[in-house]
């Protein structure tokens, strides 16, 4: 699971009002190289919840993302490469996503988060 996916997913359990961002529990992290596309990243940047991405990247051990980003940074290839790496190249291969409100664990196995809800959660 890429952090791009993490940045979109929330816990949708009935009654939960703030299911985002999901906490990450790590068993295994992998890195997979992806072609760099600066235009895509610039286009994506305003749609990303930055704080959630920085937090998720830190959990996965990547410390290069700045906490705050000035718009001018989008002209810097150095910054875009770091953004690219965090968003697209880091994968949670095994572990879990945890609902921030209820603590319910959603397992991640072979890189696929299992967000299926139980009958009493819908």
């Amino acid at each position: 699971m890429r952090l791009l996916t993490h940045n979109m997913l929330s816990s949708n359990i009935k009654g939960v009002t703030n299911g985002f961002p999901l906490r990450i529990e790590i068993e295994k992290v992998v890195e997979k190289q992806v072609d760099f596309n600066a235009d895509f990243l610039r286009n994506m940047f305003p749609k990303i919840e930055w704080k959630a991405l920085v937090g998720a990247a830190l959990t996965l051990g990547y410390v290069e993302l700045p906490e705050e980003v000035e718009p001018s940074r989008l002209d810097s290839e150095d910054f875009l490469r770091k953004f690219h790496h965090a968003l697209l190249e880091l994968h949670l291969e095994e572990g879990a996503l945890v609902c921030p409100e209820t603590g319910r664990r959603f397992p991640v196995s072979k890189g696929i988060p299992n967000m299926l809800l139980h009958e009493d959660e819908v």
Partner: protein
């Protein structure tokens, strides 16, 4: 990539080995899948460089088609882990890099804005009434640009009304009518193969 080429590659994908009737698992044929994505890109520019989500992806045919047409990212979402496994094998075989989420579409908690385009061949609701409308409702909440979907031609008026009046679509157009050949997958199928008429729809969500 040419349409014929796309159709040819999709024809080589592995399909359901043990289809589950309760989930209405029918493979999306290469003919329909190639035309759906080819039109989405060539007539509307909704695929290349976009973030595309394949709802109820099954073995991943539509998602693979999107990836072959250079979608920047493709996310396949399905309730069934076996389907996701086949989908990821299909992508791997073609050296495509896709993401997957296991989830029931109606329970999906996915932030709007990031996904540009949703493509789907939803369950037609013959086993579970309204399943196709559940898919459409969620798709129109999540897609920021367009939703492409297949629905039985016999439900055309209903689909249009639901999309425009209840699901916040700003437009709902049938792009073409196609023949969906349903192979004899399940025991209750009496004929070897039947054709049903389906509409290929393009829905545009209201901007947020």
């Amino acid at each position: 990539m040419k349409l014929k080429q796309l159709e040819g590659i999709l024809g080589g994908l592995q399909q359901f080995s043990n289809p589950k009737v309760e989930l209405e698992q029918y493979p999306t044929g290469p003919h329909i899948a190639s035309r759906m994505l080819y039109t989405a890109e060539n007539s509307f520019g909704d695929v290349t460089d976009k973030v595309v989500a394949d709802f109820g992806c099954g073995c991943g045919t539509l998602g693979v088609a999107a990836a072959l047409l250079d979608a920047e990212r493709v996310i396949g979402i399905d309730i069934d882990s076996q389907s996701l496994e086949i989908a990821s094998l299909n992508a791997e075989e073609l050296e495509l890099d896709m993401d997957y989420i296991q989830c029931d579409i109606k329970d999906l908690g996915l932030r709007a804005e990031v996904v540009d385009t949703v493509v789907m061949n939803p369950p037609f609701g013959t086993r579970k009434k309204g399943a196709d409308m559940d898919f459409l409702s969620v798709a129109l909440k999540i897609a920021s640009q367009a939703v492409y979907s297949l629905h039985k031609t016999s439900t055309r008026d209903h689909v249009k009304r639901a999309a425009l009046q209840h699901f916040n679509a700003s437009s709902a157009e049938v792009i073409c009518e196609l023949r969906y050949d349903v192979p004899q997958l399940y025991k209750f199928h009496k004929k070897r193969e039947v054709d049903i008429a389906v509409d290929l729809w393009r829905f545009v969500p209201k901007s947020i």
